[in-house]
Amino acid sequence: MGVCPHGDDPPPTDASRDDVVSADANTVALLGAPNVGKSAVFNELTEADADVSNYPGTTVTATIGSVDGHRLVDAPGTYSVSSFSEEERVAREVVLDADAVINVVDATQLDRDLFLTHQLLDMGIPTVVALNVMDEVARDGDEIDVDALEADLGVPVVPTVAVESEGIADLRRAIDEACAPATTPVEQWFDALPDVDASRREAVLVLEDDRPTLERLTAGDARADGGLPDVELPSLRDSIYEHRRRRVDATVDRVREQTDDRRTVTDVVDAALLNPLTGTPLALVGIGLVYLFIGDVIAQRLVDVLETEIFGAHYVPWMTGLVEATVPASGWSEPVRFVLINDTLGLLTVTVQYLLGVLLPLVAGFYLVIGALEDSGLLPRLAVLTDRGMSRIGLNGRAVIPMIVGLGCVTMAVLSTRIAGSRRERLISTALLGLAVPCSAQLGIILGLLAALGAGWWFAYLGVMLLVFGIAGVFLDRTLPGESQGLVTELPRVRRPRAGNVLQKTVTRTKGFLTEAIPLFAVTAAAISVLEYVGALASIVRGLRPLTAALGMPAEFGQILVLGLVRRDFAAAGMTDLALSASQAFVGLVVITLFVPCVLAMAMIVKEHDLKTGLVMWTGSWAVAFLVGGLLAAVVTVL
């Protein structure tokens, strides 16, 4: 690694010499724009399993591995070495510490990605270019002269298709040939550098007005009053960036040739997805299919088999028998036995049944769908299409995913709000999920009960839920501090998802979820069981009598609410045993839908936010459920 052998320019300036010639290099940074396939290259080089997604921003922290004795650091996606965002600041630190860089370039986005390449070469960083997604260049009707690109840049260029492992062996061999030209045009601005002791890579960043780099360089020169010396940035960023942009354009003109300008099938599909007239119905169909898969195939059919026929019919009786045979039902062991095998949330029976028979298939199904949507590039397009509607309730288009997932399982959906953006968006989407989005298990029973009441009650239920959802969203948007974050997302290409990649992501993410969730759910289940054992749950039923009376419901409805504290579908199922009039059933169903999230969803909310937030949402759900229920009871009485 060092100065490129074919560079016949003058020797580097003093500012560059220490960095350009770095003989004993062993830290190699993997650098490129978001969504160019860095994680795929990283996985192939290190045989690791970092997340690979057709979605910008998968890598938000540096991941470290090793390849042929080198320490390989996968940096967050960045368009240049600079400090405009947190990801870019992390990438800048990685680059400044690296002895060489593998610059992953999307071969279909040369105009965009070669800016970073030229900047790395300006900084004198030994570089090898991985020219990725070469398989899509021909599909676009383009041709890239790799030899010409290598000659133009003056560094090794290796064509790759990382997700198919193509070119990886060549790339591995080329790491030791990483180099940088001895001199580049950026040196014409070196005279404008402030009087600081900088390496070449630092000098280029200072010329480009990178204040953190300048502050670091002057940190050792503190004045007597403790302040930093007054060194001005040269304000040359625009000039240097524009000059570099012209160099990039010239490089692209020389190496890329368009051989076929016909629109590809992908172009046609992409245009249809982004046009609101065609995209909206397509998105609705897509959302419907996602719901069909998660909410029906997984949440109803598969879960039914696993929960009832396998765990309910075989595992739970077997485990109950085992515990009954080994743990005596008297003395000190009696409460232990109760916590382990009680019918509500026994630690070794119902909790295991719920975790493995209900949550595991839902989680795996969700990750499978999200993985396929990410890989195909459809997820950001869905976000763009739904953005306008979601922005009215303080969210952006990305939040549509948790809402769909919530119809399958709210616990899982709370986790998926990570996709929604800032903490504010996550709070709003979590609150709406906890309040007005029924999970599929509950929804299945509710739909059955409403069907018996008639279509009018069904539409009334749907209208009330949508109204509460909208009003709650607007209320949260107007009361929570801060501004809602607009949807800014780069649209990756539409492509066919790769089954291997989607499955790998599903397995990795599901394992991660279970590792986090199992201890949390075990503690929660044990706590609920203890409450039940000491009679606290029965006390709650008694305490709820005034509230149930205000709703015009019988006292037994208190038991339904207590069941709802544990699991929402328990409450819905309990409703089937009550003798209620049509209007009472309608009010009851609305109340149990708006009532608190199930205990496991609450545990997830606390985990993803904090205890205070969880308590506010929990008490807020009580208030909204009884307020709306009371209003409806009054209305149906008048009608």
């Binding site: 724009a33 240049s80 965009r112 800016f115 960036y241």
Partner: protein
């Protein structure tokens, strides 16, 4: 304005593409609220629409 692709802060009045990522600025893909290169006025915006997209 912020470049829609890379978020680089650029002046649309003096650039026809983002210097950092090369995103081409077009009136057909930007709204006037985020751009403002025409200096306000619907007539100016309309003129910008034709002159820029014809480039």
């Amino acid at each position: 304005m912020k470049c829609p692709t890379c978020q680089y802060d650029l002046d649309p009045a003096s650039h026809d593409k983002c210097p950092r990522c090369g995103y081409t600025l077009r009136c057909s893909t930007l709204d006037c609220g985020s751009c403002g290169a025409c200096g306000g006025g619907s007539l100016a915006s309309l003129r910008g629409l034709f002159s820029r997209d014809d480039d």
